[in-house]
Amino acid sequence: MKKKGEMKKVVKDKLNDGEHDDPWWWLVQKGIKSSFLCVSVFALFVRVAVGLHPYSGANTPPKFGDYEAQRHWMEITLNLPAKDWYRNSSVNNLSYWGLDYPPLTAYQSYIHGVFLKTFDPDSVVLFSSRGYESYHGKLLMRWTVLSSDVLIFFPAVLYFVLVYRSMRLGMGQNSDVAWHIAMILLNPCLILIDHGHFQYNCISLGLTLAAIAAALSQKDLVASVLYCLALNHKQMSAYFAPAFFSYLLGKCLKNKNPVLEVIKLGLIVVGTFAVVWWPYLHSKEDALAVLSRLAPFERGIYEDYVANFWCTSSVLVKWKKIYSTQSLRTLSLAATLLTCLPSMVQQVLAPSSKGFLYALLNSSFSFYLFSFQVHEKSVLLPLLPLTLLALEEHQSLLWLTHFAMFSMFPLLHRDKLVLAYIALYALFILVYFAPGGPSGRCNGSKTRDHSQTTKRGMEFISSIAFHPLVMGFLGLCSLILHVIYLTMRPPNKYPFLFEAVIMLICFSQFVLFTLYFNSKQWMLSKHLTSKDKQKKII
């Protein structure tokens, strides 16, 4: 009995000891990898649960939706030789969900097709499987996305977090790291599009994320290979190209032998492309056939109601009527390049890790806002670097995720994913405001640091963007719009009135934040140079 009493005392001592300020101490005490394990199992669970909900185009013949597109690609790649994948023929009708993503997607479809064939052969039979839907078919398809996510996106997140942590870019506490992991893994938009709507963004974004981590840890060659792979999985990854290009170029220029470095990178890029494109490099015709599939210019400058410049301004200016597609193409390209030029210049002149992350954000936002043929789902791309910057940009993360979700609301509503939308949105908010998490605790400390040095430029924008009145008003507006969208019918004269209003609000916020992030990136270099100067003086 005496021994027992002692034991109790020790327990008590320990408990007093253990009562840290950090309420998450028990969860993160075993280090980053264990907390990553815990968060990722939960994130995986959430993904499986979202997979229970319907996918895009369920039970809607004749065209169905993205789910059918992906399944159809598996059917095509499994049954035809690689050369015929991108070519219109009697067995491959390109007008029915023709393959229009780069070769890596095709290979991935092939592998998943083999998987489907072993367990449910009917689902990938040529021709007769069109519009195939079944309980097991849905499960198998969902599991292909889940496995891609686990095999590519999750390890990439771990890699990034470890690199980010070792660079001391983030804050010190373990629980902040866990929060950061949760912010990246539980990004509601990505989960809804991949596991609800049905796509494989986790692969290209995962590869991009791994490339970012490699670039941050000075493994430039690995980074270029990974980024080329991402680019070859989804051409949308080009949204990040200016940032990668300028960051890597800037680093090369700082090197002793810049020409050699550039040549090395160039060779690696060409080599990676050559390997991925191998089946199509034997004749010019084949390669051009693939290329023409990848750039569907005939689809017009915008579709549906996407919150970018062309679509929003078309309320006033009918771009499609004034200009030909050809001139719109050049126009949009010029606009895109022009808007991401400042951030590129900054990175070429002063490449830095933090600057690189901001550059990724800025270039992807420029592409989202100004490039040709942008889809609502493309907002996932700017969101990725934003989640990576979660510890720096709490408020923007919350605010932009809100509007990114909002901009996809009509799409997800069509997919009957409203319940999952609400649940995931609530989950995101809860995790974001986790008691004792960084959002509540050190809201000011880090940003205030910055704002002291960079007061003038940003004060104006951030005072508009983060003014409580503005935030409250816009938050209320979007809440009311959600309800209106769900419950009311638009007037007959303007059937897409609500979509247009949503688009307008989201666009205004995206533009504002693009300006804000651009100025922030530039302030960063000023901040750095002033620090350098101080060092020199000392």
Partner: protein
Amino acid sequence: MKQLLWFFGIATTVKLLLIPSYHSTDLEVHRHWLAITHSLPLSQWYYDETSEWTLDYPPFFAYFERFLSVFANLIDPRIVHLHHGLNYKANSAIYFQRISVIVSDLFLLYGVYISTRNLPSLKRTLVWVLVIWSPGLLIVDHLHFQYNGFLFGWLLLSISFLAQGKDLMGGFLFAVLLCFKHLFAVAAPVYFVYLLRHYCRGGLVRGFARLSAIGAVVVAVFAAAYGPFVYHGQIQQVIRRMFPFGRGLCHAYWAPNFWVFYIMLDKGIAFLLRKAGFNIPTPVASFTGGLVGDASPFAVLPRITPMTTFIMVLLALSPCLFKAWRDPKPRLIARSVAYAYTCGFLFGWHVHEKASLHISIPLALVAVESLEDAKHYFLLSVVSCYSLFPLLYEAQEYPIKVLLLLLHTILMWFCFSALFPKNIATKGSLQDDKKSKGSSRTAAEEQRFELGWVAKSYLLGVVVVEIWGQFLHPYLLGDKLPFLPLMLISMYCAIGIMYSWIWQLKWIIIFS
């Protein structure tokens, strides 16, 4: 409190996400009860036979369904229509019922909050994790579909009142709970003895006054519940509905309890005797076949009647009752209640595997008390959650249940290792008592949360059993012996629950 709400919020979002998942016939059962209570007068509730899912819960639950049916009627009148509502599977019905469970869980939140109010913050957090994020509760309530969450809220509330010494309130809440779901009655002997000895003490006069007070409370509760039915002269019918003893010793899927071993022993002996040349007739009613009629399902061993199980439960309970009689301690009430449910689970008649929640939820309150408790709870919780796996047999929910168990195991591991960390000796010696350095180091070795090799290999066995049942069995044996995987699961889990029973028994005999 903020953190508790946060835990609850996370759990709620997960529950919302799980709405479209598989649900058992219990959804239709409860929908039908909504219809019965809404469209029929009270006097016909326990007589109605429109559907095979007759009302077989006590009156308070029927009143609860009546309360819910008011809202259901507002949302979609067809849900509560006695005939048109049969097997009604529209989204409105499913969403309404699922959300009613989610909302009723608020009571669980309250119960957990009250019962952990006085714990130190780390322990409190851990109990919250164990109860609010309980995978078993999630599987049974929000996938399989039942209303257990708020009942456990009552139970925790009642236990915490007793633990604080507010005996009358605790007894009152337990009486109410019994009128919600009579399965909780297994702990009634413990409550009875404890209240008699702890509340009704202090001399003959005072004791008698208190006895009559608590008696009056209990009678009042039961009168409120059963009064209307007594008035209509239906009490026998109500009782008959509530205790359908015709159902047989075991459920279609055997709950992992003592009777599994009994059945296996019977089969084993019969097999051996047949080998030895004796002529043993195969019993007409078989356990693997499903429904059991009047014939004895045993080939050799004596038949088990409800009375036998009743006596066995009481016998198993007796050490605990004895202790409660001799020295009723408020501190031990949670353990005693959990022990009572363990006995009921192991030796009871027609036990359902869902009843293992009755053990794991109250025990969560004491799991953080000592290292031994934590070790025991870790094992018990994994086993009790794993034994629920056969409830979700469809492929769609397979990753969900596996991930739930995995997440729970990881969380428990983190919880308990944070509570009992490795290097406490250095901490302790650094702090103050340098003299007792040696003793604190030995204490440290005992304080570290680590499973022994037996427990480790047992848990590894769970993985093996699962892999065999899911992958190897269909691959190697095909359609032969289809009942074998489930039998393995119940046998394997039964070992774990038996261990937990013996552990709890030992604890009650030695420590209390």
